[in-house]
Structures are given as C-alpha cells and as structure tokens.
C-alpha cells in the first residue's frame, strides 16, 4: 500500500497536484484574503469544471468540440427562469430544467449531429458553431437581451470562520458540483447504460458487434452533457446574480481551457482543470496587478498554451500512438 501511494505521488502530474494542494492549504492558513479568494475560486472553478466535463463527454464520444455547449447551458437556464416566472419553486424548476436539458441535448444529437457525424469532422464543428448562433438568436428573440433576475438558490448568507468570509452560495455550488460529478461517475461505472456508453465511446465497432446501440448511446451522451451544462448555467447565474444571453460565453472559453488543460479525454482532468483554473485566476487577480480584468482570459490561454507545449495532450491525457 505504501509503495502504491508513493508511486501515485511520484507521477509528475500527481506530484504537481499534491504540491498545489499543499501550497493552497498553507496559503489559506497564513492569510484570510488568500483563503477567501481560494474558496471563491473553487466555486467558479466548479462551474468551469462542470461545463468542461460536458465538453469532454462529447469529445470522447464524437471527437468533436461542441461550440454550442455554453449557449445550450444558457438557454436551459432561461428555461428555468421561465418556469420560475410561472410560479414553480426554484428547486423544482431546477430539476425540471435538467430533464428538459437532457431531452434537448438528445434531440439535438439525433436531428443535426448524427446526419453529419460520419461525413466530416469539420462539418460537425461548423454545425455546432451554427447552433451557437441559432440558440443565441432564439433566446434573444424569445426573452430579449436585457438582464433578468432569478431567486438565489442557496440564499444570500455569508459565513465567517475565523475571519474568513465564505458565501453560502459558493459552498452550495461546490457541493452541488461534487454531487453531480459523483452521480455521473456512478452512472458510468455501475449501470448497464453507463457501460454501453463507455463501450460506444471507446470502441464503437466492437461495441456494436456485442449489441450496444451505439447511436443511441451517443445521443444519451449529448443529453447528459446538456444536463451538466444546465447545472453549470444555473450555478453561473447564481454566482453572477444576473441572467443575460452572454451568461456562458466567457465561461465556455474557460471551460475549453480547463478541458484542454486536463487533456480532453479525461473527465477527472476536466474537473481538476476547471477547479485549478478558477482558483489560480482568482489568486492571480488578487496578487498580480499587471493581470487586470482584460488580461484574465488571455492569461488563462497563455497558461494553457504553455501546458500544451510541454505536454501536447494535456495534463491527464495520454499520448496517442498511431499506426501508419
């Protein structure tokens, strides 16, 4: 056991993670501001991580980056808003929205992704870009471009622990994300559908031979990704306190960065990448004054670029060896 633990820690990526965790812990014990920024960053990172996870789910199944993922999440958040306007309570609306999001993701895959999927990768990417514009247009058409407000899911309360102020909202976001990831992981690990989906994503042809309905598995994958996106969207709304059509646009870019950082094919990597990015950017914003709000996004991508150059398949990705 000791040897296994040691070999776990020796792998460079894990060593890096452990060092980062120790650094954050020591910093938080030393300074209350550091601790506050870390927790707030953790909550933001949870949102990035959820959306990044959605991107990774789709990438593993279809080898395509879904540019519309963020807009889909934004649209489902508007659905929740509409339900609440009709008098549904927040949490009932939340879960109804997740169900609807699944349906929307599923139908999207069947209607517009499946027909082009085997023809050309670039065509699928362009379709998702088209969906991006389409969804954005539809939302503004239906609800308008002005700012909307939704009730705060976890209340406005702020806890004070030894001088560290922590918003209940942040704790809620973090816990909800953890719960979502665990449910999803359990779904993939312990259910027949999950097994089928993993088989369909990793080895489609053999999976088909043993009777997995690969097409339907991919559609379910899109549905689940949309559910994750909806969670990310609702939490992003709760963190920003306002709902507007541009809700997810910056977050989508951070989620891209997070997913690539973790190595596109690794679900755990996406979540870790998101959390890392959230905390890191918050701390940098606090302590490095050169990195102003305008440079936040370019900086995130500069970090991403450096990681890619050192390790072209992301932190958790595996090198692909290709036969010629």
């Amino acid at each position: 056991m000791g040897a296994r633990l040691l070999s776990f820690a020796v792998r460079p990526v894990n060593a890096l993670l452990i060092t980062a965790a120790v650094f954050l812990l020591i910093g938080s014990l030393q300074s209350t501001i550091f601790a506050q920024q870390t927790v707030a960053g953790l909550a933001q990172g949870a949102v990035y991580g959820s959306l990044a996870l959605a991107l990774v789910l789709i990438y593993r199944a279809t080898e395509v980056i879904n540019f519309a993922q963020g807009e889909l999440a934004m649209a489902t958040t508007y659905v929740a808003y509409q339900l609440i306007q009709w008098g549904v309570s927040y949490w009932l609306a939340f879960f109804l929205t997740l169900v609807l999001a699944f349906a929307i993701g599923f139908v999207t895959q069947v209607l517009v992704i499946r027909p082009v999927m085997h023809k050309s990768v670039i065509a699928v990417v362009i379709v998702t870009v088209g969906l991006f514009v389409l969804i954005d247009g539809l939302v503004v058409w239906k609800w308008g471009g002005d700012i909307k407000f939704m009730p705060a899911p976890f209340g406005q309360q702020v806890y004070h622990w030894g001088g560290v102020a922590v918003a209940r909202q942040d704790i809620g976001t973090i816990l909800l994300t953890i719960a979502t990831v665990i449910v999803l992981w359990a779904l993939f690990q312990f259910t027949k559908i999950g097994l089928g989906m993993r088989a369909a994503a990793l080895h489609p042809t053999p999976a088909r031979l043993v009777g997995v309905r690969v097409d339907w598995m991919l559609a379910i994958g899109w549905g689940l990704a949309a559910v994750l996106g909806a969670v990310a969207g609702l939490m992003a709304e709760a963190n920003q306190y306002i709902l507007q059509p541009s809700l997810m646009q910056a977050i989508l870019l951070y989620a891209f960065a997070a997913a690539v950082l973790g190595g596109l094919e690794s679900p755990a990597g996406a979540v870790v990448g998101g959390v890392f990015l959230g905390i890191f950017l918050n701390l940098i914003g606090q302590y490095v004054h050169f990195i102003t709000a305008q440079l936040r996004l370019p900086f995130a991508f500069a970090v991403l670029l450096v990681v890619l150059l050192v390790k072209p398949s992301g932190l958790f990705g595996h090198r692909r060896v290709r036969k010629v």
Binding site: I65, I122, V127, G130, V140, W141, V260, F301, L305, S313
Partner: protein, 315 residues
C-alpha cells in the same frame, strides 16, 4: 490542378460579373460587396491552411486584427499610402503566422483548434490592455478614409491578385508538399518533405492573406481599427465561410464569402424575421442546414456536378 475549359469559363464569368457589378448597384451595396471581398480573401487564406495543409485554425480573426491595426497605425503615425499598408500587413502577418506556426508544430487536431481559438480571444483583449499605443476600446483611426467605390475596386483587385497567387502557390511544388503533409505526415516525411518548414510556411502564407483581409476590413469601417470588430465571432465567420465554400478547393470560395458576407444583411430585410435578432436565427439555421445538405460545401457540389457531366463520356 490543371484548368479545364469549364474552370476557365467560370473564372472569367465571375471576374466579369464582379467588374460590371459596381456600375449597377448603389453606393451602399458597393460597400456591402466590398465586405464580401474581404471575406473572400480571409477564406482563401484559411483554406490554404485548413484545406491544403491539413492544420486547423479557429483564430484567423486574430491575424485580421493584426493586419487591420497595422494599416490603421501606419496611416495614423506615418500617413502611409493605404495600398502600401496592405503590403506591410501582408509581411507582418506572414511573420506572425510563422511564429504561431512554430508552436503549432507540436499540436494537432482539436488541440491546435483550441490553441488558435485562444489566439482569437486574446488579441482583442491585448488591444484593450495596451491602450496608449493601440487606442483601447476606441481603437485606432487611420488618417485617411476612402470612398465605397474605391474600396470596392481595391478589395476586389486585391482579391483577384491573391486568388491568382494562391492558385500559383497551390499548383506548384509548394502546394504538392502541403497536400502531401495533409494526407499523411509520415508518407510526406519519408518522401523527403521537411514537415516543420512546410507546416509553418502554410501558417505564414495563410496568416498573410488574413492580414490583407484585415487591412481592407479596417478601411471598410471608415478607417477605424477597434477591438470589438475583431472578436471571436469574426474567426468563426471565416471558418463557417470556408466550410460552406468547401475545403481543399478554390472554386467554392466566392459562394462561401457571399454566404457569410451577405446573409446577415439579406435576412434583416425578410419581413417575418425582421426583428433585431431574427437574423441570428436565420443565419444559424442556414449554417446547420447547409452543412447537413452539403457537408463538403459548394466545392463539393461543383465537383459532384462535374462528375455527373463527365461520366457519360468515360463509360
């Protein structure tokens, strides 16, 4: 890539149409069609990279921004002739393209796509950050503005020159090397093609084209180079245009450029969707439909038509 008689006829007919058009349309429409030329050049450049050398870029708006700012700054600080600034934009973006192409050597597929996407996101932000030189959100204004007719003539002339240049590049040694790299890197290497040289060169040439497009783009916006003109959506528009045109062929580009250049304006005039964001709905819907119906773009349709026509002769 020999020209058949039909190809030649197509080129001549297209050129004639473009040459006659400004005499038939209003001043406003000349500006609109000049915009199509800008997209034409940018898509042409992107196609050299994606369609011929097999490297993807979702960041060509960044090179357009660099070209555009080059024109505006040269005009502001040195009163350089606007046509000359295009040459500078070409050269500077060529160098930038080579520089971006170097790290791109280590990346491929989706990772390259996202790295170039990062570029598209970052460049406008940099203009905001260094506002002393680059003017912040107000941008940089060139010392001189041009008439719509001048713009139409200049942009289509440039487009024609660059089209011929692209055709010459792609039909020769360089183009063969690009296509070999695209089809199989291993096979290309083993036939003596130095991958790093050709891959970065493709990036450089492609970026240079985008730079010229950006230069004209700034002239078309009354000489203003502003960060919000060069946001991510511009890069996506070029990519959509290239896909609608069809990758790996030069014959669909006019259609692709017209698609992204004219559609938003046309759909604004459709009565049912008239409202402010109805045009987004129409544009998005059409992008999806076009990709569903012709995943190889217009060039794919043209090729299919050609096969249809020649098949009876061969059988």
């Amino acid at each position: 890539m020999r020209l058949s008689r039909a190809d030649l006829f197509g080129v001549v007919a297209g050129a004639a149409l473009i040459a006659v058009l400004p005499f038939l349309i209003s001043d406003y429409h000349q500006a609109l069609f000049a915009q199509v030329a800008v997209f034409f050049i940018a898509i042409l450049g992107l196609n050299i990279l994606v369609g011929y050398s097999g490297q993807i870029s979702i960041g060509h708006g960044a090179f357009m921004a660099i070209g555009g700012y080059t024109t505006a700054i040269l005009s502001r600080d040195h009163h350089t002739n606007l046509v000359l600034t295009m040459v500078f934009a070409f050269a500077i973006c060529f160098v930038f393209g080579l520089v971006v192409g170097l790290p791109a050597l280590r990346l491929s597929g989706v990772y390259l796509a996202l790295a170039t996407f990062a570029l598209a996101v970052s460049v406008p932000q940099i203009a905001l950050k260094f506002d002393k030189f680059l003017g912040g959100s107000n941008g940089v204004q060139s010392a001189k503005t041009v008439s719509h007719t001048w713009l139409y003539g200049a942009s289509w002339t440039t487009a024609a020159i660059l089209f011929v240049l692209a055709w010459l590049i792609l039909r020769g040694r360089l183009g063969r090397a690009f296509r070999a790299v695209r089809d199989s890197e291993v096979a290309a290497t083993s036939s003596g093609i130095a991958l790093p040289i050709y891959k970065t060169l493709a990036f450089g040439i492609s970026a240079a084209f985008a730079g010229v497009a950006g230069s004209l783009f700034v002239m078309a916006t009354n000489g203003f180079a502003q960060p919000n003109e060069f946001e991510v959506i511009l890069s996506l528009q070029i990519l959509v245009g290239a896909a609608v045109a069809g990758l790996g062929s030069l014959w669909g580009i006019l259609a692709g450029a017209a698609f992204v250049g004219l559609l938003p304006t046309i759909s604004k005039d459709v009565p049912v969707v008239g409202s402010a964001h109805g045009q987004d709905v129409v544009f998005g819907l059409l992008v999806v439909l076009v990709m569903l119906l012709m995943p190889q773009g217009f060039a794919g349709v043209l090729a299919a038509l050609k096969r249809l026509r020649t098949r009876p002769d061969t059988s």
